[in-house]
Every structure is written in structure tokens, then in C-alpha cells.
């Protein structure tokens, strides 16, 4: 199982919010947003909740468990 994410999709659904702006709003670096979107880093529950709040989605809409191929 791996954690998939749709942060990038929701970022664009929120009016093409850029990575730097989202990073500033949730209090992390832009590189952390890049790492999350690429699936290289799984955020803590707190950060996932903050991302969900800023993107107007639920945590389940942003992150989901996916079967490994």
C-alpha cells in the first residue's frame, strides 16, 4: 500500500493557487509542498489537516491509500 495524493489537483481547483502561496498559508517550505505532491513525503496528520482546510477539501479527498502495482 502507498499513500496517493491529489494536492496538486485541489490546488488548481482553488484557482491555481501556487505552491509558494499554499506553503506560506500552511506554514511549511515550498520544497515540502513539492515533496508532498510528488509523493516523496507523507505529511503529519496536523499538516494534512491544515492542507485540507486551506484547499477546502477533506483529508480523505487529498490523501488515499492505494494498492501498489
Amino acid at each position: 500500500m502507498s499513500v496517493g495524493n491529489r494536492v496538486r489537483l485541489h490546488r488548481f481547483l482553488r484557482g491555481e493557487l501556487n505552491q509558494a502561496e499554499l506553503a506560506a498559508r500552511v506554514g511549511v517550505s515550498r520544497q515540502t509542498i513539492v515533496a508532498i505532491e510528488k509523493g516523496n513525503y507523507n505529511p503529519s496528520v496536523e499538516l494534512a489537516l491544515r492542507l485540507a482546510r486551506e484547499l477546502g477539501a477533506t483529508v480523505e479527498e487529498l490523501f488515499s491509500l492505494e494498492e501498489m502495482p
Binding site: G27, V28, S29, T32, A35, Y41, P43, S44, L47
Partner: protein, 234 residues
Amino acid sequence: MTRRTLIAIRVAWVAVTALLMATWNEDAWVLLLVLPALGPILREAAPAADLDERQRLVDYRASHWALAVVYLVLFLLFARAWFQLRKEPPIELWLVLLAPLVVRTVLAVVQGFGGRNLAVILGFVCGAFWLAFSTASHGLSPESAIGLGIIAFTALGIRWPRLGGTLLAVAAVACAALLIPVGVRNTGGDWVFVAVMALALPFPLLLAGVGLIASAVRASRPASDEFGDLRRTS
């Protein structure tokens, strides 16, 4: 502290060492041996507030890689000393080998037990040690009150860690101020004996006091993320 402050502390340490080497004694370079131990201590005691959770994770992993590289170089230096030069490695190499091991082991124990628990145990052990030592040599005497005082301060620290920690730290300084001059006078300036004496009581007391205060300060800060905060939750 910020990441820049932590870097500045390390740079200042190197600069002061270089200054001491130039103006006082070339052997002052041994102060550089503290650097591999200083990093992990700073990281645990004062995590950089401007790093987010992923950056702290990266920082933590980088420190493991740095340690691995240091030990690879040490392995080569030890191998060279033993097999090529056929002599014992210098004491400084042993210090470089042991200092990070000791520091990381202590930090792991602190994280596992919890800083406050460990400080309380240390305080009670110091008090009991003093009480047993003074009772065995003089019976119940005014000196026994010092041991009882340490135990009482530690007990206070369980409920009020800042107060108990401050009292223990003050007791440590008072013990050092009383014991070290007496030790110097009685031993004719034998600094090894004085150092052992300082390590036996004032230093652990100071550690217990600082540990209690630090745990209280840490507990008052909100948990920033799941990785950077290793406080016990139960």
C-alpha cells in the same frame, strides 16, 4: 532558535578554537572534538523553529549520514594506525569515536524515558547517595540535611518542575562553590581529584535541574509535528 543561529553557534565554536590555538595553545584544537557531539545536543535541546517537519526529518537523516562518514574516516584512521603504522591510535581519535556514541546514547535514553523522568531519577539518586554517604561517615548529622534537601527539591520538581529544577541548579552551584575549594585545598591542587568530585555531585545535580527546567519549557510549547516532537504521550 533558527537554523542560522544553530549554524552561527557552530561557526563561532570553530572561530573561538582557532583564536585559542593562535593566541594560547595549539592543543586547543581538541575543542573541535566536541563538534560531532554538539550538533545532536543542539538539535534536541533547541530545534530550529524555522524548519518545517520535512526539513527536520531531512536534517535528522543528514546527521546520521554525517556520523556514518565520520565513522568511515575513523575506521580508516584506526586501520592505518594499527596495521600500517603499527602503533596505538592517539587518544583524540578515541575521543572522536566515543563522544558521539555517548551523546547519542544519552539522547536516546532521554527520549525513551522522557527528560523529566530521567531528571527526577537523577535527583533522587544524587540525594540518596549524599544521604547514605554522610550517614555512613558521620551518622545523622547536619550534613545529612543536604541529601534530604536534594530529595525534597526533586520531589518538588515532580509537581513544579521549574521551581524544583531551579532549586536543584542552585544547589549544584552551591555544592560546587563549597566542595571544589575544599577539594583543591585538601589535595594540594590535584585537578583530577577535583574533577572527579565535581562529576560526582554538582554536575549530576546541575543536569537534573536543567533537565527539569528544560522539560517544563518543552512541555509548554505546542507540539509542532509528529516527527520533531519526541515527548512521551503516556
